[in-house]
Each structure stands twice: as structure tokens, then as C-alpha cells.
């Protein structure tokens, strides 16, 4: 598997696309700022959300048990899966018991993480993603590139072509209304002929056993209410203690995600309709181990709004696919190494550590300090980058001896001024790819200081 820098390089071959991608996401960030600034006590809300999540994680085992008891009282059937494979097996078993062959699914990053579509596909089950963005990437046989806007990397002409090929639509030049209406017709047939619906879970309330699912398209509800079987898949970290806490999280979620005050639908599922079945699959898949890492456990507070991606200068210019992880961007870069350090070792370096991610995070996860800590863990474990190690070794010698430092800065200043640009640029190859080296001053700082300090 290639690392983030190599994958980002491929994405950056098309400069126009990079600029377009950058701009679309920045637009979403601006919408977020706009609505957040209208909320009285926005910062207090973030603080409360952060504290509630911290508390929940500190007695997560008890809250999960409480949730299970309540959910069972509500006639839900609760399952537990240690890992992705077990999750997939459980879902398949439930579907199989109901003889369900056609399944509609609303957005769930957890089922992406577990590779559910691929697994069910092999078992001859037709599983259709019903969020438009997810349907687009499913038809394109790609993973989502963003957790809230799965097809943010796709241009309208590409979607036009994709629909023309798979849904037999007319080529429209990418007319969004035409394409969305065609998708609606196509998905409506899928809903009406489905045997079962799978949804993710935005929040699970321990006190009541309720799960909450947020969508703009109405696709989760269309699926669940059209079928007799609802399977909701959730990670162990989705819990909140009480119903009243939803007020805090729902005020933050959509505003942070897309700049809307709330999603079009915020559905509360407690019990199945009479005669229907409601299953909840609670999945660990590495999360309980992550909880045991004091430096990194805070990332489990994440409510998957995607604000850190929209604001991240690296994400915006490298695209979600370059992270090669279910959750990309800054939050993905601190979550993924906890699950597989060697596979995701390049991700914590995909950041300028500017801290914008931490500033927009609605649950105040210390994202950029964690990125920095992961770098230390990774650097300690691997000494593969020999050149970097040599450079660090030499630099430490130079910086620790004033005489050596003076000599080198004088020499450096002279060579930067006198050598041709082709040579100086090649010294810092990556850096000068999209920019020039700054003009070198005539004196070193020490020389300048000696001359000017008396004035």
C-alpha cells in the first residue's frame, strides 16, 4: 500500500481539480462558521459535549449494559461483535434468517470500516447504498472520500457518465436536478422491493435504549419504514447517557458538518413497528483497545461531523482517498494508527499541525497534539527514513555548538546567495515544488544583531 505523500502526489497531478476540491470544502467550512456564530454559547456547547463524551467513555461498560437492558425492553435484539468479521457474520445471519436478499443501507461508516458490502456481495445479497453520495461511489466502485459528503471528489460530468452507464439516464452535462431525480426514481424502486434495511447510528441513548439517525435525504427512514427488518450497526463509542444530552449534540452536529442548523430528518428509533424486527449490532473492532491508550483515547469522542476535514489544508488539497482509510482527514489520522500502526504510519504526518482541526471540533478533541504524539510513537518505532535520521543527527551537532552553528549559517547564507537556483532548489526539493525560496538577506542574523544592537 502506498503512503499518503505518494497518493497525494497522484491527486495533485490535476491542479485544476485540486483547486476545485479545495474550494468546495472551504465553502462548507465557511457555512459552518456562519451558523456557529449565530448560536449563543457555542463554545460552552462544545465544552459540554466534550465533557459528556469524556464522562461516557469513563464508564462506557456500564452505559453499554444500561443501553442493552433498555433496548431489550423496547423489543430490540442486541448483538455484540468483537471485530469486523464477526459484525459481518452477525448481519448476514440475521438477513439469512429472514430470507432477505435485497437490502437497502443508509450511510454508515462502521459498515464501510467492516467491509460489509463486499462480504454480503459474496453471499449473493444485493446491498444498495441509498444516500446519493454513497450510491455514486458505490456505482463507481470506490470508497467514500469524505464521511459526510462521500462523493465530494466527483465532478458532475463524471456522475453524469456514471448514471448514464449504470442507470441508463440521458447525458445531461451533469444537471444536478435531473440526476438527483433519476436517482430518486432508481432508489425508490430499491426501497419498495427491499427485504431489509441497514442503518448506522449517530447517537445511542443509554437511559432509554433509543438510537438516533440523522439524514438529509430521508433515505434511512424510507428504508426502515418500507421493510420489516431493521438492522442498526453502531460502534461502542456512540453512546450518550441521557435523552436530554441529544439537545447538545444535535445543536453541534449538523452545524459543524454542513453548516445547517439541523439535518432534515433526525429520527428516534425505540421499538419496531408491530410485526417487524429491530436488531442492534454493537461493534468493538479495536475501539476498546484504543480506549486503553491515554494519549489517544480522546479521539473516541468523535461524532463524525467531518468539520476537521473541511478545514484541513492538507485534506482539502490531497483528497480523501489519499488517506486510504475509512475515516480520512485529521480525525482519521489519529484514529487509524490506533487500529493498525504500520498500515497507517504515514497519516499523522499528513498535517501542517496548524491546529485548525482542533479549533473546529465540536467535541474539542485535541487532534493536532495527538497527531504530533503519533509522530513520536511512529518515529521511535521505525528508523526506516535514513536520510531524515542523518539530517537530524547532523543538525543536533550543529545546533548544540555555537561555533559550528555560526560557521554553518555563514556558509549557508553565502551559498544560498551565490549558487544558481537550480542547485539551491534541489536542496529542499519537495518544498520548492510549488513555491520559490525566499530572498536571502545579505547578512546572517548574528551579523545583523552585532551591527544593530548598539543603536
Amino acid at each position: 500500500m502506498i503512503g499518503h505523500p505518494q497518493a497525494a502526489e497522484i491527486f495533485n497531478e490535476d491542479e485544476e481539480r485540486v483547486n476545485w476540491h479545495d474550494k468546495s470544502l472551504w465553502g462548507v467550512r465557511q457555512k459552518r462558521d456562519n451558523v456557529a456564530s449565530k448560536v449563543k454559547g457555542w463554545e460552552e456547547l462544545r465544552e459540554l459535549a466534550s465533557e459528556i463524551k469524556a464522562h461516557t467513555l469513563s464508564k462506557l461498560d456500564e452505559y453499554l449494559i444500561q443501553f442493552e437492558i433498555q433496548a431489550k425492553k423496547n423489543r430490540a435484539i442486541v448483538h455484540w461483535a468483537t471485530n469486523a468479521e464477526e459484525h459481518n457474520k452477525i448481519v448476514y445471519k440475521i438477513l439469512n434468517e429472514h430470507n432477505a436478499k435485497n437490502v437497502v443501507k443508509s450511510k454508515s461508516m462502521l459498515t464501510e470500516e467492516c467491509g460489509l458490502n463486499h462480504y454480503l456481495g459474496k453471499k449473493e445479497i444485493d446491498i444498495v447504498d441509498t444516500d446519493l453520495g454513497e450510491r455514486i461511489v458505490q456505482l463507481a466502485k470506490e470508497p467514500p472520500s469524505h464521511i459526510v459528503m462521500p462523493a465530494i471528489h466527483k465532478k458532475r460530468e463524471e456522475i453524469d457518465e456514471l448514471f448514464h452507464q449504470h442507470l441508463k439516464t440521458e447525458l445531461s452535462g451533469g444537471d444536478e436536478v435531473y440526476l438527483a431525480r433519476e436517482a430518486r426514481k432508481h432508489l425508490r424502486q430499491k426501497f419498495l422491493n427491499a427485504d431489509a434495511a441497514i442503518t448506522g447510528v449517530n447517537f445511542a441513548v443509554a437511559e432509554t435504549g433509543i438510537i438516533v439517525v440523522c439524514t438529509n435525504e430521508g433515505n434511512a427512514d424510507m428504508g426502515v419504514h418500507s421493510t420489516k427488518l431493521h438492522i442498526a450497526c453502531m460502534g461502542i463509542e456512540k453512546l450518550v447517557p441521557k435523552l436530554e444530552h441529544l439537545g447538545i449534540f444535535l445543536r453541534l452536529l449538523a452545524r459543524s458538518a454542513t453548516g445547517q442548523p439541523i439535518t432534515a430528518y433526525t429520527s428516534h428509533f425505540r421499538s419496531p413497528k408491530k410485526g417487524n424486527d429491530f436488531h442492534i449490532v454493537i461493534v468493538d473492532n479495536g475501539r476498546s483497545n484504543h480506549l486503553g491508550m491515554p494519549d489517544f483515547r480522546n479521539s473516541l469522542r468523535c461524532i463524525r461531523c467531518g468539520a476537521c476535514m473541511n478545514t484541513c489544508p492538507v485534506y482539502r488539497r490531497s483528497g480523501g482517498h489519499s488517506y486510504n482509510a475509512t475515516v480520512p482527514g485529521p480525525i482519521g489520522s489519529i484514529l487509524s494508527p490506533g487500529f493498525d500502526l504500520s498500515k497507517y504510519s504515514s497519516l499523522p504526518f499528513a498535517s501542517s499541525l496548524c491546529g485548525s482541526c482542533s479549533n473546529v471540533c465540536p467535541v474539542k478533541i485535541d487532534i493536532h497534539p495527538q497527531l504530533y504524539k503519533w509522530r513520536q510513537v511512529i518515529t521511535e518505532k521505525s528508523h526506516k527514513d535514513r536520510i531524515k535520521n542523518i539530517v537530524i543527527f547532523i543538525s543536533s551537532r550543529i545546533f548544540s555548538k555555537p561555533s559550528a552553528f555560526k560557521l554553518c549559517s555563514k556558509f549557508g547564507n553565502l551559498s544560498l546567495r551565490l549558487l544558481p537556483q537550480s542547485i539551491t532548489n534541489s536542496l529542499v526539493k519537495g518544498w520548492t515544488k510549488h513555491r520559490m525560496l525566499p530572498k536571502v538577506p545579505e547578512n546572517t542574523f548574528t551579523e545583523w544583531y552585532k551591527k544593530n544592537r548598539m543603536l
Binding site: 461483535a81 446519493l132 425508490r188 432534515a264 430528518y265
Partner: protein
């Protein structure tokens, strides 16, 4: 057993207990014209808000807006224009030709233009989603300021299903261009009625 494995691993790994914060929800309230804010936010979601004198007035507005739609279910008492009896229908497929559904909403939320409807208002859970157009009727005195007030009201919520609906279904999955009408209704209209009339 996976359940025990997961729970024991969590127990082993949980951080030191931190307390739940003390929350004073009223600190988030402001002095605002709730009705005005509510209407503004409905319009911002792509929905329509109409002030009606009473249900008869609402029924007239509905006629203006939708003409004579073929298949209508009204579960709002006093707006008796149903052409379909939902009790005679059992599967979603049979609801697919539904053009207009008129339902009562229990309360609205000014800060985001959402209204709360639950099982008792909708008869069949699929109705508010499968209908082509959705009309929700709300007593204008039932407008909460924010989501904290809303959940206070829902503290005794015991039903199997309930949903906040804010405007029509929509998507921006094609190049961030907003399209009203995704997998649910193409339009959502909220009638604000003064129950005292």
C-alpha cells in the same frame, strides 16, 4: 462470548471516572421573536411556512397550493380531504402513489425550523417520507426556542418512533449543489395555526 470480552476489555481500559458536567440549559436562551425565527429557519431549509387562521383556512390554502391531488391522506382533524384510508393499506408499496399527506406536528423548534412528529401523528411511519408533498399543521403556541427546550418537552417520550423534520428532503451530493427533494418528499409546508381562533 464477544459481549463479555468487549465489556471486560472496556472495563480494563476506561480512564479515571470524570463526572457529568452540570448543565444550566436556560443559559442558552435569548429573548427572541420565536415565531419569526421559526419561520425564517423553515424558509432557510427550503420549506414553506404559512400562517393560517384556523384549519378551514389551512384547507383553503392547501387547495390553492396543490389543486386537486389524486391521493391524499389527512390525519389532521378538521382538514377532511383524505381520498385514501390508511387503515386499509399495509405495505409501503401501496403508499407509493401518495401525493399529499397532512399531519399534525406536536411542537416546533425556532432555532432550526424543525417540527416534532411521532407515531401517534403519522399512523404509519412511512407516510411522512413516501408522500410526494408533506403538510404539517402546528399550533403556533407550541414553538420552543431551542433543542434543549425540545428535549425537556420530550422527557416523557415513550413511543416507538419519533422524528424532527426540518424542511423537505434534500441533497447536495452532486458538486455541493443543493437539490430539494431527495429520497423523501419534494416539498414540506408548515401551517401555523392559532388554536384560539
Amino acid at each position: 462470548m464477544s459481549r463479555e470480552d468487549i465489556l471486560s476489555n472496556i472495563k480494563k481500559n476506561v480512564p479515571v471516572l470524570t463526572e457529568l458536567p452540570i448543565i444550566t440549559y436556560k443559559d442558552f436562551n435569548e429573548v427572541r421573536d420565536l415565531k419569526k425565527l421559526f419561520i425564517e429557519n423553515i424558509e432557510a431549509t427550503g420549506g414553506k411556512a404559512i400562517i393560517a387562521e384556523d384549519k378551514n383556512d389551512a384547507a383553503l390554502h392547501i387547495k390553492d397550493l396543490f389543486g386537486e391531488p389524486g391521493n391524499v391522506i389527512s390525519l389532521s382533524e378538521g382538514i377532511n380531504i383524505s381520498t385514501i384510508n390508511p387503515t386499509e393499506i399495509s405495505s409501503a408499496k401501496e403508499f407509493d402513489q401518495l401525493e399529499l399527506a397532512i399531519l399534525d406536528a406536536q411542537f416546533g423548534v425556532a432555532e432550526n425550523g424543525a417540527v416534532w412528529v411521532s407515531e401517534k401523528n403519522i399512523y404509519n411511519r412511512v407516510i411522512p417520507f413516501i408522500t410526494l408533498h408533506l403538510v404539517l399543521v402546528l399550533n403556533e403556541e407550541q414553538i420552543m426556542e431551542n433543542m434543549h427546550d425540545a428535549y425537556e418537552k420530550l422527557s416523557s417520550f415513550e413511543e416507538g418512533y419519533g422524528v424532527f423534520i426540518s424542511g423537505p428532503s434534500k441533497t447536495a451530493d452532486i458538486e455541493q449543489s443543493l437539490v430539494i427533494g431527495a429520497q423523501g418528499p419534494l416539498s414540506t409546508t408548515i401551517f401555523l395555526i392559532n388554536q384560539n381562533n
